[in-house]
Amino acid sequence: MELNQLTIHELQEKMKAGETTSTDIVQSVFRRIDAVEKDVHAYILLTREAALEQAAHADGEIRKGRFQALTGIPIALKDLLCTRGVTTTCASRILHNYVPPYDATVVEKLRAAGAVFTGKTNMDEFAMGSSTETSWFGITRNPWDLERIPGGSSGGSAAAVAADECIAAIGSDTGGSIRQPAALCGVVGMKPTYGRVSRFGLVAFASSLDQIGPFTRDVEDCAILMNVIAGYDPKESTSVPAEVPDYRQYVSRGIDGWTVGIPREYFIEGIDAEVLEAVQRSVKVVEGLGAKCTEISLPHTEYCLAVYYIVAPAEASSNLARYDGVKYGFRSQDGRDLLDMYKKSRSAGFGAEVKRRIMLGTYVLSSGYYDAYYKKASQVRALIKRDFDEAFKSCDVILTPTTPTPAFRVGEKTDDPMQMYLSDIFTISTNLAGIPGIAVPCGFTRGGLPIGVQFLAGHMGEAKLMQIAGAYEKSAHLEKRRPNL
């Protein structure tokens, strides 16, 4: 195995034993990037020189016996996390030249833990999409099949981990944007509880839904990253002032005696037969670990997508009002006056999907329609959350498929927004309810595409997710495969 293929914890052992250095690891990652990035296009920007400097610094620290949680580990950042002095584009023309004067809290925490940053990963523009096809900088391809999409919106982060172009990555999840690409690329991806990880410095999409989380090769690495990025931030008013447990301790605890809920509404017509088969095998594995699996009902599930596509665009239309061509980013030179400059800058600066969502959001919030759409959706959202609250009274965690199908083909859904939106049907409810979820690889289709199972827990239940995902991963005995690039 090459260094760039190992996990965080394996690399940490090697560095501690003096068998390798951060510089070796970072060079191994960039050799891989040089070899495959032209096919995958996981990154918008590579920060090779800074990464090598950070690695040299890490090696100095290690020589002094100073190890922190992520010393010397190469990590990729989704390009909507503000990085001081390094372009942060949100994959949009309107921010193509934006250089933040500050770090996002998550970036600050990773930096303080000794991480090395390889670059900024590709994504759907403003995180609006499920395939990483709406980026202004071009599409990312699925490392398992270059004719297919990696999922989205954090498709670059998922693909970078799957293609061994970094050791781990950070993404964001508003309706499935971490878990869906993790499942389609065969890696672990977690969306934490709303408020568990600070959103300060995350370019906002839908503020009541957005949450930052990790992409990793295994559950232990997920716990290692969550230990670093979780926690209260006085700069972020929705971050929760609660203690962060040592998640790593939970990975090997087992789930003997647990009750796992299987919501019947997630096993619907239209779900791919091989996905269904793999998820049903996961149920057997979980039962083999001493848990009782029982059917449950989340009766408002069918309304999740409709609620989401009112709430998220409404919040987005308000958040994206700040892009006016005045303070930063793209400005059209054709504006006759101020109003015309706004319109021309925004119309040329945003892509079609972003404009579609701004339009939808503006419409549902506009005078006369607010009650019919936004208020109604927020009421149904309360019922969706209530479904989960009820369910977690009788079960520890919930098990579902992560996606209805494996990765679809490039271009397959770009002309039909509704079809694209449906690919997030199993992940959206989590964000609406604010609960945590994790996608874990659970096998491959006969055609060699990865499939992911999803576990959900109640608010602040990340430790439980580490526990079941860790136990599952250990006993599922999945074939170890790597994409053939």
Partner: protein
């Protein structure tokens, strides 16, 4: 039809966007599909249900009233497409 072309044009103005004729046609049709799909919410009885505005129960989050360092003006203006002196410069606002 949930939304007509002239409404799409009006919403575009509210959103400070502008579209070609062909784009307006396409958006009208796509927005109609999406808004039709959302009709299903009318099947849900929400009488007496308080709208959910946030995923977690929380009160106002107050910080101590301490003066912290602000970003230096040069850094704040560094990303502006057109900055002059201490100001953001914009096209003419009034005739």
């Amino acid at each position: 039809m949930k939304i007509k072309k002239d409404e799409v044009t009006h919403v575009a103005h509210l959103a400070r966007l502008e579209f070609t004729e062909a784009e307006t046609e396409k958006f009208t049709s796509q927005m109609n599909d999406i808004l039709m799909y959302m009709e299903m919410l009318n099947r849900v009885d929400t009488a007496g249900v308080a709208p959910m505005t946030h995923a977690i129960a929380q009160k106002n989050a107050f910080r101590d009233d301490r003066v912290l360092e602000s970003l230096p003006r040069e850094e704040t203006l560094a990303n502006a497409p057109d900055a002059r002196g201490d100001f953001f410069r914009v096209p003419k606002v009034i005739d």
